[in-house]
């Protein structure tokens, strides 16, 4: 056996330089490509939904628990904004101020719900989150004092940042982009710290997690809370963008979309959620020519995706990198073993 030197260098870190360059390139590409307000809106929506895709990435990718609860928390975020900014409680806060309120509200609610639902395991937990979404929808749709019933709540004022009123989607875009990238960095940081590793241990081997001192239940509750806050921020921005909040924006049907976004890009990576959200949101617009067959193409491609690239786009990219690396070293790549248990 050839003795290999121990390499401790962190090679995964790509450096702030690459990041800034790619964000700037992305910004310019969108600026050039988006000739109409509508296409800019599509991109903005993709960025907002990206936050929800992050939340899937945290819960499913890091923690290994499939949760549909994202839309429920989006609703909580959106209706918090709507109630606080339109003066339904008798006072008005600016949208940005209300956005800061969303975070503690969502943290509190997600934590309590997480404590209850995560007493269930695996599939049972997933089903309970579906129930949660339905319950939340029923509330949103019927309880007028808080959620405006079927009419929803309209008239959310436009956002004012640095003395500028964000009245159209062009103005929104740079702020959204910076915010989404920033949140992405936070999520990526979680992945690389103790919390992320604890979550990964809950995902891959609970027994190992426990003998390594990880409180599996609490770690999952924390993951659920983080993902709830991410979704709520997404929902809040959603309502701030379209200046309206109503129950049918947060149905169970739409929750599949966020799941697909995260799965498409690769649920194991943060950048994957970003790419997935963009593709899933933008592709239907690009393929408008095939509108009649779109659902068919969409369905088939999702099946193919799950069969041939369960790790999503970033998974394929990572695999290609690995294959190149092992070819370089001239050694046979090791057949990946299935996880124990």
């Amino acid at each position: 056996m050839a003795e290999k030197k121990l390499e401790l260098k962190n090679k995964r870190f790509t450096g702030p330089f690459t990041l800034i360059i790619s964000v700037v390139v992305f910004y310019l590409v969108v600026k050039i490509m988006c000739r109409s307000l509508y296409s800019q809106m599509v991109v903005n929506m993709a960025l907002v939904f990206c936050l929800v895709a992050y939340s899937v990435s945290v819960m499913l990718g890091m923690c290994g628990e499939l949760s549909f609860a994202g839309v429920a928390f989006m609703g909580i975020g959106a209706f918090t904004i709507a109630n606080l900014t339109t003066g339904r409680f008798g006072f008005k806060i600016s949208p940005l101020g209300a956005f800061l309120v969303v975070i503690p509200v969502a943290t509190f609610i997600a934590f309590i719900i997480g404590l209850i639902l995560l007493r269930l395991k695996g599939t049972f937990f997933s089903f309970s989150t579906i129930a949660l979404v339905q319950v939340a929808y029923t509330f949103f749709n019927n309880y007028r004092p808080l959620f405006g019933g079927v009419d929803g709540i309209s008239g959310i004022p436009s956002v004012r940042i640095l003395g500028k009123q964000l009245t159209n989607h062009y103005l929104w875009f740079p702020y959204l982009l910076v915010f989404v990238v920033f949140v992405g960095l936070v999520v990526e940081h979680i992945r690389n710290t103790q919390l992320g590793r604890s979550m990964a241990s809950c995902r891959d081997n609970e027994t190992a997690a426990r003998v390594l001192g990880v409180n599996v239940y609490m770690t999952k509750v924390i993951a659920f809370t983080i993902s709830g806050v991410l979704s709520a921020m997404g929902g809040a921005l959603y309502s701030m963008l379209i200046r309206y909040a109503s129950a049918d924006m947060f149905t169970y049907d739409t929750s599949a979309k966020y799941l697909i976004m995260a799965m498409f890009g690769g649920v194991q990576s943060t950048i994957g959620a970003f790419i997935g959200a963009l593709i899933v949101q933008i592709l239907p617009q690009v393929l408008k020519v095939f509108q009649r067959y779109f659902q068919l193409i969409w369905g088939v491609s999702i099946i193919l995706l799950m069969v041939f690239m369960p790790e999503g786009l970033t998974g394929i990219f990572r695999m290609a990198l690995k294959r190149r690396k092992s070819r370089k070293k001239g050694r046979i790549s090791v057949i990946q073993e299935k996880g124990e248990e």
Binding site: E7, L195, R203, A208, Q268
Partner: protein, 257 residues
């Protein structure tokens, strides 16, 4: 108390009983494990050795009896908290995070060693000598790896050794090692014994070792505890055990007249 501090057991089992339905897997088990001691836990297949380890690490709860760790009664303490108190554990087939890199797999041990909360971890507090400790241990094990490779890229034997490394990185006071030599080649078994000796002598860790390789048990253990069908049948130094009739009988059967 101060003068016999060195001989105070770090782990003390008192009359541990456990049964699964009609099957008795532990009956009145009692022993002391001292810091720096390597204690072999042996017995024929199905004797309840791994079950006993699971009881100590908290994966199972004992039906009756007390477990004293570091002067505290931990019989009803949940498993993850026992790990944080300093009970390390490795498994017969290594349990790693299959989808994570080697780095993450080892750092999770170091996380436990740091004993800090998630928030402090988020803001970048980390152990200062993690790399040095890891290097020292890898010197004993005579193999290296690429930090970013996935854990599944390592051969089985190296993964087993690495699981012990992961556990030692968490600075345990007691480490429960379940059949570490199974699947290892003779060279690796030597490295394994080196690292277990290092853990006991240098780090003053109490080592409880399940192993079927008698050569290794006789070579490395300070004392041996033998169980058969959950019942303790012998305890003593390797020499005493080698000449213990009950033990020989359990392993080889009764001699005909």
């Amino acid at each position: 108390m101060a003068e016999n501090e060195t001989r105070k057991p770090i782990l003390k089992l008192e009359n541990i009983n456990k049964r699964f339905g009609g099957v008795v897997t532990a009956k009145d088990i009692k022993f002391d494990l001292f810091p720096g001691e390597i204690k072999g836990l042996i017995g024929p297949n199905g004797a309840g050795k791994t079950t006993l380890m699971n009881i100590i690490s908290g994966i199972y709860t004992a039906d009756s009896g007390t477990i004293i760790f570091d002067g505290m009664d931990i019989t009803n303490v949940p498993d993850y908290r026992r790990a944080r108190m300093g009970i390390g554990r490795t498994f017969q087939s290594p349990r790693f995070l299959q989808r994570s890199s080697i780095r993450d797999n080892l750092l999770i041990g170091a996380d436990l060693g740091n004993r800090i909360g998630f928030l402090e971890g988020f803001f970048g507090k980390k152990s200062t000598n993690f790399e040095q400790e890891l290097k020292d241990m890898m010197d004993l094990l005579h193999f290296g790896f690429n930090w970013d490779d996935e854990i599944s890229s390592l051969p089985f034997g190296q993964r087993k050794l690495l699981e012990i490394v992961r556990s030692l990185l968490s600075h345990p006071k007691v480490i429960l090692v379940d059949e570490p030599a199974a699947g290892l080649n003779p060279k690796e078994i030597n490295y394994l014994m080196d690292i277990l000796r290092m853990a006991a002598r240098k780090m003053n860790i109490g080592v409880l070792l399940i192993e079927h390789s008698m050569d290794m048990i006789m070579d490395i253990c300070d004392s041996i505890y033998v169980i058969s069908f959950g019942v303790p049948i012998g305890e003593g130094t390797p020499e005493q055990i080698a000449n213990n009739h009950a033990v020989i009988e359990a392993y080889l059967g009764k001699e005909d007249e």
